[in-house]
């Protein structure tokens, strides 16, 4: 791990008078998978949207690959690859055409051989002519991830990438994330799966009511919170897990 590929400092997001994110600060280093966890409405999506440049923060600073997202939004976006929660490409286009479209958008010169290599790498060698809507959920996620990575960005944002995937596809995606980490990409991952966070994240932050409650490694968080009364109460099988820590720190009530 070396220098940060994402630095979020004092991020504040308001919707009218409601403050959804209150002075959030964290960073993601190159070669690191950083997890952002939180219950529904905690401020994860707002934080991610601000990093993606879809939301203008009320205060704070976001720097992606050395580029301020407010001063140089396009340059900042060129330095990140994004996999959105809902895969969203024109259903009329084929897989090949979608990859070509995004290669063009990111200024990547893609030969037919390169394209075939990409399709082979995501196990869609013979499916390039299929329309995106004809692919299974797992295949769509693989296309979405390969597009997020097509320009080899320093930072990759993955918004609940394994939602709705079967265990095999999920494992495959984890391996893919680890491969990217190994190649020096920094990954910001949001997930509701504590198993996933524990399995792949090097560090994580738990966010609740718009504020970061705690930051650390998965093992470190379990260790430092195992004696808290709320965490022990949340534990179901005696052994303290990351999920117990999460519920202990964010409360038992169901969020909308």
């Amino acid at each position: 791990m070396d220098q940060p590929v994402l630095e979020v400092t004092g991020l504040t997001i308001r919707y009218g008078s409601f403050e959804a994110v209150k002075g959030v600060t964290f960073s993601v280093n190159a070669g690191e998978i950083f997890g952002l966890l939180g219950p529904n409405g905690a401020g994860k999506t707002s934080t991610l949207s601000a990093v993606e440049g879809l939301l203008l923060p009320a205060a704070g600073r976001i720097v992606v690959g050395g580029n301020d997202t407010i001063k140089h939004p396009r340059q900042a976006r060129a330095n990140m690859g994004v996999q959105l929660q809902a895969t969203s490409f024109q259903p009329e286009l084929t897989v090949r055409e979608i990859i070509r479209l995004y290669a063009g958008i990111y200024g990547v010169n893609l030969s037919n051989e390169n394209l075939q290599e990409i399709l082979t790498s995501i196990k869609l060698k013979d499916d390039g002519a299929k329309r995106f809507g004809q692919l299974s959920g797992g295949q769509q996620q693989r296309v979405s991830l390969v597009i997020a990575m097509i320009h080899q960005p320093p930072l990759v944002l993955l918004d609940e990438p394994t939602t709705g995937l079967d265990p095999q596809s999920r494992r495959q995606l984890w391996e893919r994330m680890e491969y990217l980490r190994g190649r020096g990409h920094g990954i910001l991952l949001t997930t509701h799966s504590m198993e996933e966070a524990e399995a792949v994240c090097d560090r994580l932050a738990i966010i609740d009511h718009g504020q970061i409650v705690v930051t650390g490694t998965p093992a470190g968080l379990i260790e430092s919170n195992r004696d808290r009364q709320e965490v022990i109460q949340a534990s179901r099988r005696g052994k303290i897990t990351l999920e117990d820590v999460f519920i202990g720190l964010t409360g038992q009530e169901i969020r909308s």
Binding site: E52, G53, L54, R77, Q90, E97, G104, I105, G107
Partner: protein, 251 residues
């Protein structure tokens, strides 16, 4: 890991255009419908050519086509892509929002060109309407000005309404009202008062500039006034449509 440099606008626009034209081509059903409706009207109005003149008939048919392009084609495609999150996906990439819209508008301009050509061809083939080269040229120009008005109207609809289904039903309703009141009002079937109103409505003003373009010698004060009214409508609709437009469908 090295910093990524921005691609040139030209490369980005070329990629967007290729994708948008492919999408339009694959949506052949709506594409053909937009082309065929004005031609069917052209054929069914064959008997009216002597009474109203070829310029009036061609003007009406092109106006119907422009209404379909702006209200049925453009607004529905924008509403659908917004709801599906296609715009969100593009906006998290380094594409300038202007490039996304320019590419979409280029597709619609190509549709205007095709539809106008289809009407000219149909007018010649079915109704025996022939025009001078200047008239054809001015006809294309006027079709683009009229197209601007209807694309602006379509933009206003997607600016005002977020839900794709509601956009679809609203644009269909406006299309139907425009065509019925516009066409029959122009023909005088709905009485003098409605006829006078229609004359300066978006339908009537576009129809007038088109009809005047087909007889360049016949450009008079009313034609210039109709051009001014058309541009005025187009400016207002586009400005409001752009101001109200949101890239995501959620409130």
């Amino acid at each position: 890991m090295n910093s990524v440099t921005l691609p040139s606008n030209q490369v980005v626009l070329r990629s967007l255009l290729r994708a948008d034209f492919t999408t339009q081509w694959r949506n052949r059903k709506s594409f053909i419908l937009i082309l065929i409706v004005p031609v069917i009207i052209l054929i069914s109005w064959k008997g009216l050519v002597d009474k109203f003149g070829g310029a009036f008939i061609l003007g009406n048919c092109i106006t119907v086509g422009l209404t379909a392009i702006g209200l049925m084609g453009y607004s529905n495609s924008i509403a659908r892509d917004r709801e599906k999150g296609i715009f969100q996906r593009l906006r998290v990439s380094p594409v300038a929002p202007g490039s996304i819209m320019v590419s979409r508008l280029c597709v619609q301009m190509a549709m205007i060109l095709l539809m106008t050509t289809a009407v000219f061809f149909g007018g010649y083939y079915f109704d025996g309407i022939t025009l001078s080269a200047t008239s054809y040229f001015l006809g294309y120009l006027s079709a683009f000005v009229g197209g601007w008005l209807y694309l602006g109207l379509g933009q206003m609809v997607v600016g005002l309404i977020r839900n794709a289904e509601t956009v679809h039903s609203t644009s269909r309703l406006i299309y139907f009202v425009f065509i019925m009141v516009g066409m029959f009002g122009e023909l005088g079937v709905l009485g003098k008062q409605i006829g006078d109103l229609v004359k300066w409505s978006p339908y009537g003003s576009v129809n007038r500039i088109l009809a005047s373009s087909f007889k360049p010698g016949g450009w008079d004060q009313t034609s210039f006034l109709a051009l001014g009214v058309t541009v005025g409508y187009a400016l207002i609709f586009s400005a409001l449509g752009i101001r109200w437009f949101r890239w995501n469908a959620s409130k």
